[in-house]
């Protein structure tokens, strides 16, 4: 609605058909005696879903819409439903008699809680009309006395509706007026979402008229003054299509508040600017209205400067100040500007609380050593989709925190006047000409401090990770994480994982190739090649799969770089973690020693300069397997080897003795001999992956992806590029090479050759290979493709599927394995991993990065056959 004058209130009735102009977001309370036609009125002017009727709720509670004994419960239900609608910013109509003030109080409170404007519509066709209508309804067996009492009570309360808190009151006092009335809806005064800008949002000016003009000049606005004295006027020509948004506090403290006001008033008047109210405007306005205010905080300067101004200017200023918005909501809802900031649940809404918050922000109630109120850090808790730009609290530098930005850089205190270009998100600064006003509290925090976002990030809120979650990814749209999966990840993440500051990424799970149909095999390269060929991939990369443990490595050029980029606090120069986010090594010294080796290699090949970065995120395999898995070998694999050997040999020997003396056990004897053979092979299966580790020299690290570095996520580079970097990093000792080759899928000979290569690798004790499309992110006709498929060797699979998995009778059953779940998981985790890296590189708030990483871990708790 275009804003009501604050003095206008009851709409009077002059007999002409009425148009009730209400806000498009409001709590509409119908008031009328039984039979006054509320439900018909509501049905005529509102959507069925907008109307919450007390009768209907009585029915829901007890099957009888007229059972007054359940009223208390029915009204609780009305309030509950209405509350949910208001929470979602939906216009809501309460259809009940609402005869007495106490009946209406509940709705006023509800509207306040959700910052909706309460609107009263009184339907009063007269008691006779009501009684007559009721007579025709068997479910309303009461006489005219009841309706008379209701009507008189309503009429008595009419004058107090404003006082009760209704911001608009409409009264329709004849049956005809009710029938003829229409309802229109208008956006709230603060709702300018249709205006898509572009905008230049200017911080607290405080009378710094010269700096404002310089800043406007920088932004491309032409300011032209004319006239002198009472005729002094200004006109501003904006660059094409652009508009200014003033965050308030135009006045006080500075040298020339009147000219600042002239510029703002001229631009607002010409539709070239919006201006939201600052606390200084509020107080100055009250002074202008002649109210008693304490002169302080620089108001004296403005008062002095107004001395020489004429009466006409004063009146215009008074009207201008009276008309300022609490905040303005712009650009399709993507942007909000408020003087002291605004909580997400207040944007585009109206209430006293919204206005107060927008003006003063939130304080903790404490007073600091300078006697100023301690501000609660609402921005640290902000989670909204709408960017909130605000001022009010002078800061040294404008820094984004959780999609909010304070652009009060203390110009009047000798800082800068700052503007934000929207949607470009560019900051434009003009330095103060001098310190116009000494600040009570020094601007700069004592000592160097981490970035505002880092401070806000120090802790992730449980609400940011728990419950059912939706994470929007750029690779695969929205990924859903079920509540129970998030819960399962919480313990792992909080008790075992590295600090979230480090964990920018967790690798996705990897699916095996389709199951081989060839006799004696479970997995073969042919199926992996066919998989990608069928999905339109021309070339794949085959990489040797090391049998170690997956590791993600954050490698920084120095401890300082680690502190800068990862907010590291302990002097470490990086971190190495497992696929579940745990520290890879229990001993920090081992981590540092390995990082030092890698850093030496990065240094040697000049990668820091080449990529203009001082940190890297690498995806790698660290060997030996036993470095992480020795206890698994000891408690899991070795016992199976010992038990199978002992049991099968005892059985075999007995069978042989029985067969020797003529019992028909020959076939069984042979079968057990074969079983014993497989058990022996099993006992050797992990030998190549186990060696003692005495120090870093015994470790092997084989990087295969360069995930990210300063400003870049390297998923847009093909795998050969990544492997070339891996090759360069190899030192032939600790930094191990990964053998790899490209294969053109249309070339049968090349495929056969790669298959032979795989056979050689696996025959020599290798785990197998990984087949990837040449593109890091590959898409086929049906969307995102598997980023990689593993093809494991037959001997290695013995560790996974057990000693005797390849006996024909077992293999035939193991072939019936479903890969869809695993593959779907791999894609979701791949998309989440990429999203987390992207957000990390874009320096989004930590919780936004952590959300993705947490989601990967949560998805890992989905029940999937771990042998895949």
């Amino acid at each position: 609605m275009s804003r009501m004058s604050r003095r206008e209130r009851i709409e009077r009735d002059d007999g002409t058909p009425r148009t009730l102009a209400i806000p498009d977001f409001a709590l509409v309370v119908l008031i009328g005696a039984s039979g006054s036609g509320k439900s018909s009125f509501a049905a005529k002017h509102f959507k069925p879903t907008e109307v919450i009727s007390s009768d209907r709720c009585r029915g829901l509670v007890c099957d009888d819409e007229n059972d007054q004994s359940v009223s208390a419960d029915a009204f609780e239900l009305v309030a509950e439903i209405a509350g949910k609608r208001l929470k979602h910013r939906k216009l809501t109509v309460i259809d009940a008699t609402n005869v007495r003030a106490p009946d209406r109080k509940r709705w006023i409170e509800l509207a306040r809680r959700y910052h909706a404007l309460p609107v009263a519509i009184v339907l009063d066709p007269g008691a006779e009309v009501c009684a007559e209508r009721n007579q025709g309804r068997p479910d309303r067996p009461f006489g005219i006395q009841v309706v008379l009492r209701m009507t008189s009570e309503i009429r008595r309360g009419l004058g107090g509706l404003q006082r009760e808190g209704f911001r608009q009151v409409f009264r329709l006092d004849t049956a005809e007026a009710i029938a003829a009335a229409s309802v229109t809806r208008q956006p709230l005064w603060t709702d300018k979402r249709v205006d898509t800008g572009p905008f230049d949002i200017i911080g607290d000016i405080h009378g710094c008229a010269d700096e404002l003009q310089i800043l406007l000049g920088e932004l491309g606005y032409q300011v032209a003054w004319s006239g002198e004295g009472s005729g002094r006027a200004v006109s501003v020509t904006p660059p094409a299509g652009r508009k200014v948004v003033f965050v308030g506090d135009l006045v006080d403290r500075g040298p020339n508040s009147p000219d600042v006001l002239r510029i703002a008033m001229a631009m607002v008047g010409a539709g070239q600017a919006y201006c939201v109210q600052g606390n200084h405007e509020r107080k100055f306005g009250r002074w202008l209205e002649g109210r008693k205010v304490t002169i302080g905080h620089g108001l004296q300067q403005t008062v002095d400067q107004m001395e020489g101004q004429d009466r006409d200017f004063r009146e215009k200023v008074t009207a201008f100040l009276d008309d300022l918005r609490s905040h303005v909501w712009l650009d399709g809802g993507r942007l909000a500007v408020a003087h002291a900031g605004l909580k997400a649940e207040m944007i585009g809404r109206g209430s006293g609380a919204v206005r107060e918050f927008a003006l003063y922000g939130e304080t903790t109630g404490e007073i600091d050593e300078y006697g100023l109120p301690v501000r609660a850090d609402w921005a640290a808790g902000y989670r909204g989709e709408t960017a909130v730009i605000y001022g009010h609290t002078p800061v040294v530098e404008a820094e984004w925190v959780n999609n909010t930005l304070c652009i009060d850089t203390g110009c009047v205190f000798g800082g800068e006047l700052t503007a934000l270009r929207w949607p470009e998100k560019e900051l434009v600064h003009v330095p103060a000409i001098r310190t116009w006003f000494e600040p009570v509290r020094p601007l700069a925090p004592v000592g160097g401090s981490p970035s505002a976002q880092a401070q806000a990030d120090a802790l992730v809120d449980l609400e940011d990770v728990s419950g059912r979650r939706w994470v929007d990814t750029s690779l695969r749209g929205r990924v859903v994480v079920a509540e129970e999966n998030a819960a399962a990840a919480l313990e792992a993440m909080s008790r075992f994982a590295l600090a979230p500051e480090w964990l920018a990424y967790l690798p996705p799970t990897m699916s095996p190739s389709e199951t081989s149909t060839r006799e004696g095999w479970l997995e073969r390269p042919e199926e992996a090649f066919a998989h990608y060929r069928e999905r339109g991939v021309a070339e794949v990369v085959c990489e040797e799969k090391h049998m170690g443990s997956r590791a993600v490595i954050a490698l920084c050029r120095s401890a300082e770089a680690a502190s800068q980029r990862f907010n590291a606090r302990g002097g470490e120069t990086g971190a190495i973690w497992t696929r579940t986010g745990r520290p890879f090594f229990g001993d920090a010294a081992v981590t540092e020693a390995l990082l030092a080796r890698l850093r030496g290699r990065v240094e040697a090949v000049g990668l820091w300069e080449e990529l203009s970065t001082d940190w890297l995120l690498l995806d790698a395999e660290i060997m030996p397997w036993s470095a992480k898995a020795q206890s698994l070998v000891d408690t899991q694999y070795a016992p199976v080897a010992a038990a199978s050997r002992a049991g099968l040999s005892a059985a075999g020997e007995t069978l042989a003795r029985a067969a020797a003396r003529g019992v028909e056990a020959g076939a069984l004897r042979d079968r057990f001999a074969e079983r014993a053979g497989r058990a022996a092979l099993y006992a050797e299966a992990w030998a190549p992956y186990v060696w003692p580790v005495g120090g870093v020299d015994d470790l092997r690290v084989a990087p295969f992806h360069l995930l990210a570095s300063e400003g870049r996520v390297w998923f847009d580079r093909e795998h050969p590029w990544h492997m070339a970097i891996a090759d360069r990093l190899t030192d032939g000792r600790v930094v191990a090479a990964t053998r790899w080759r490209t294969v053109a899928l249309a070339d049968e000979a090349a495929c056969a050759d790669a298959t032979a290569w795989w056979e050689t690798l696996t025959a020599g004790g290798g785990e197998g290979m990984v087949v990837k499309p040449r593109d890091f992110v590959a898409r086929g006709p049906k969307g995102l493709l598997q980023p990689a498929l593993k093809v494991r060797g037959s001997q290695y699979l013995r560790i996974i599927y057990g000693p005797e998995y390849d006996a024909p009778e077992h293999l035939s059953r193991l072939r019936e394995r479903g890969l869809n779940g695993k593959r779907n998981l791999a894609l979701r985790e791949f998309a989440l991993g990429h999203e987390g890296l992207k957000r990390f590189v874009d320096r989004e708030p930590l919780r936004r990065v952590h959300e993705c990483v947490f989601a990967v871990l949560a998805l890992e708790s989905e029940p999937i056959d771990p042998r895949l």
Binding site: D461, G570, A638, I800
Partner: protein, 459 residues
């Protein structure tokens, strides 16, 4: 997976009559989890030996059991090969009559003690050779044990029993004691398992010196069932069953002589009461040991229990009888799944937080997050923290030097280290600490547990 029984009773081939299995044939028994083969590698007048070979289907074991419901150990494990409850089931299925001690052909032989020899391999013996002897020797068996060789030491043994006994006695001893040594069962242990145990144990279990352990392990540590079994075996023995051979927390095992946990809880409750706590958040509440004590206190208005482990919270709810008749009134206790390294507003109204033996379960690097969440964000008026005093560890007889009291402890602090941490936290967040000891105080090494009560300045 291998069991053999031999006799030198003459004619030894009568063993075939006792077992109801012809010595010259290969006998096949179908089982739910695979097959068993019974055959005689030796069958002469002088000596006759019958062998039961288990042929467990390793793939069938894991198929249709709910995919992915568990880790890899479900798929690669020793179950198809080790002597376990599978073997007991195979025994019962293939030699039911022999086990009951009857024989149509040789009834008097079934009743008499004959020279017997049995071999079981590989027998996973949890408790080692000593326990194997403890279990079989009181039954009159001469026990020979030979470790099964692996790459390193294994827990498998080849067990050889020699002695004179009725065949059915031998079979019943093996039936019960193999899974007891394995300390596992491949099937769900329900109430009928008590009946089975009593039937198979008839005549020997009542007087076995290790009957409590046998009952407990056989019934898979379901203490209610074990108590029932013991009550039916020997009613006077019940009280002591609780105290022996449970799967106890390692920490409790080490600290046991001190009954430290009780003392610690008492000290914490007292510190909370003295601080004027009304609404208390027990962070890292685990199974609710502190909550159970606090819920009984009248000065406590409301309780929050927060833990990262859902399973512990479920146990705590059970212990507290939450939402059950006779439990605390609705709203008095709230259990929350949460983690201390995240900001959590759900327990913000608590005026007091207790971190009892919790901080040492977090990596030192993660403590700043806990500090900020606790002292920076939640800022309760009082915070009570207890943690082990590492110096005192020297006085625990069964704790190796340098070792922690619990495998999940990430650190254990000396008194100086704890104080330094507490002082730094107080300095940073505006609290004052007060330190005290819990447990018997050693002059040089202090008390086993140290406690700090943090008070917010001005609170």
């Amino acid at each position: 997976m291998y069991l053999s029984v031999a006799t030198t009773h003459r004619p030894a081939t009568d063993l075939g009559f006792l077992l109801h299995k012809h010595p010259e044939r290969l006998h096949e028994v179908e089982l739910a989890f695979g097959k068993a083969w019974l055959l005689y590698p030796e069958a002469t007048e002088e000596r006759c030996e019958a062998a039961l070979i288990l042929d467990v289907d390793p793939i069938g074991l894991v198929r249709g059991r709910g995919q992915g419901d568990g880790l890899l150990d479900r798929y690669v494990n020793d179950r198809p090969y080790a002597a376990s409850s599978f073997l007991s089931v195979a025994l019962a299925r293939s030699l039911r009559t022999a086990m009951s001690g009857t024989s149509k052909e040789r009834p008097e032989l079934a009743e008499s003690e004959i020279p017997l020899e049995a071999v079981v391999t590989p027998l996973p013996a949890r408790g080692g050779q000593a326990l194997v002897r403890e279990l079989f020797e009181p039954l009159g068996w001469t026990v020979e044990l030979e470790p099964v060789e692996g790459e390193g030491p294994t827990r498998y043994l080849t067990l050889r029993l020699k002695g004179r006994a009725r065949l059915s006695a031998l079979l019943n001893h093996l039936y019960v004691l193999i899974p007891v040594l394995d300390d596992d069962k491949h099937y769900w242990v329900g109430d009928d398992e008590v009946t089975k145990l009593l039937a198979r144990g008839a005549g020997w279990l009542e007087t076995h010196p290790s009957r409590e352990l046998i009952a407990k392990r056989y019934l898979k540590h379901r203490s209610a069932l074990a108590r029932e079994a013991l009550a039916r075996l020997a009613p006077e023995a019940v009280e002591s069953a609780e105290t022996r051979e449970g799967r106890v927390e390692p920490e409790a095992e080490i600290e046991k002589p001190l009954r430290l946990n009780d003392e610690r809880m008492g000290a914490v409750v007292e510190a909370l009461r003295a601080s004027g706590a009304k609404v208390i958040a027990d962070l890292g509440c685990g199974e609710g040991k502190l909550l159970v004590r606090l819920v009984k206190e009248r000065w406590v208005e409301r309780l929050f229990g927060v833990d990262a482990a859902v399973i512990d919270l479920e146990r705590a709810a059970k212990r507290l009888k939450l939402h059950l008749a006779g439990g605390p009134p609705e709203g008095r206790v709230t259990l929350l799944h949460g983690a201390l390294t995240y900001r959590d507003r759900r327990w913000a109204e608590a005026d007091t937080a207790a971190l009892v033996e919790v901080i040492e379960h977090l990596d030192v690097e993660r403590l700043p997050a806990l500090e900020q969440a606790m002292f920076g964000e939640a800022r309760p008026a009082t915070v009570v923290v207890t943690t082990p005093n590492a110096e005192y560890n020297a006085l625990f007889p069964n704790l190796a030097p340098g070792a922690f009291r619990h495998p999940d402890h990430r650190f254990e602090w000396s008194r100086a280290e704890f104080r330094a941490w507490a002082d730094r936290v107080c300095e940073a967040w505006g609290y004052t600490p007060e330190f005290s000891d819990i447990g018997p105080v050693d002059e040089a090494l202090g008390a086993p547990t140290q406690m700090a009560v943090f008070r917010r300045a001005g609170a």
